[in-house]
Amino acid sequence: DAGVTQSPTHLIKTRGQQVTLRCSPKSGHDTVSWYQQALGQGPQFIFQYYEEEERQRGNFPDRFSGHQFPNYSSELNVNALLLGDSALYLCASSQTGQIYNEQFFGPGTRLTVL
């Protein structure tokens, strides 16, 4: 049973560029959440997707957008990259209907903006 997978593992971009990160949820999961973890900090919630729609959103600018596909996989897009966007981006999947909202995390994508 494959867990949550993310690609790529590492990414280096320059300011102003755009980036797309990808996530495949754990088998049987239909909800995907994205988190940003800056160095030395706890993960911060970006947004959550369910049934191909954004269900919740954290305090992130519109430069951060996402998409969920019919197979439940998801993408995170960041436009006009800033140096401060350098972070570990974590994807988590869960199964809607579970009252305890247990989320399983992927290994993350480390984004460096130069």
């Binding site: 959440s33 706890g42 993960p43 959550q48 988590a92 909202n101 989320q103 995390f105 290994p107």
Partner: protein
């Protein structure tokens, strides 16, 4: 607004010592869930435990134990007889809507 505070930034112990990681949360909700996650150097967050707000019974799993006290809004995590493999960053988290709100994390270093 909900908030999770892990006051201990770093803890260093010698192998076989017991260590407690503190977690305090703030919320006005009556229904919520609390979690602990472990983040080894590889970066992946590993789920350790989940507790709902109506279950204050302490839990023990091997060398790990958790103490949930609603009266003090705390959800502390104790590792008994620590091992070098326990070295990692530990996060406490809160949830009541599906999104996780994390504390800043506590870096635990267990020395041989």
């Amino acid at each position: 607004a909900q908030k999770v505070t892990q006051a201990q930034t770093e803890i260093s112990v010698v192998e076989k010592e017991d260590v407690t990681l503190d977690c305090v949360y703030e919320t006005r909700d009556t229904t919520y869930y609390l979690f602990w996650y472990k983040q080894p150097p590889s970066g992946e967050l590993v789920f350790l435990i989940r507790r709902n707000s109506f279950d204050e019974q302490n839990e023990i799993s091997g060398r790990y134990s958790w103490n949930f006290q609603k009266s003090t809004s705390s959800f502390n995590f104790t590792i008994t007889a620590s091992q070098v493999v326990d070295s990692a960053v530990y996060f406490c988290a809160f949830s009541n809507t599906g999104k996780l709100i994390f504390g800043q994390g506590t870096t635990l270093q267990v020395k041989p």
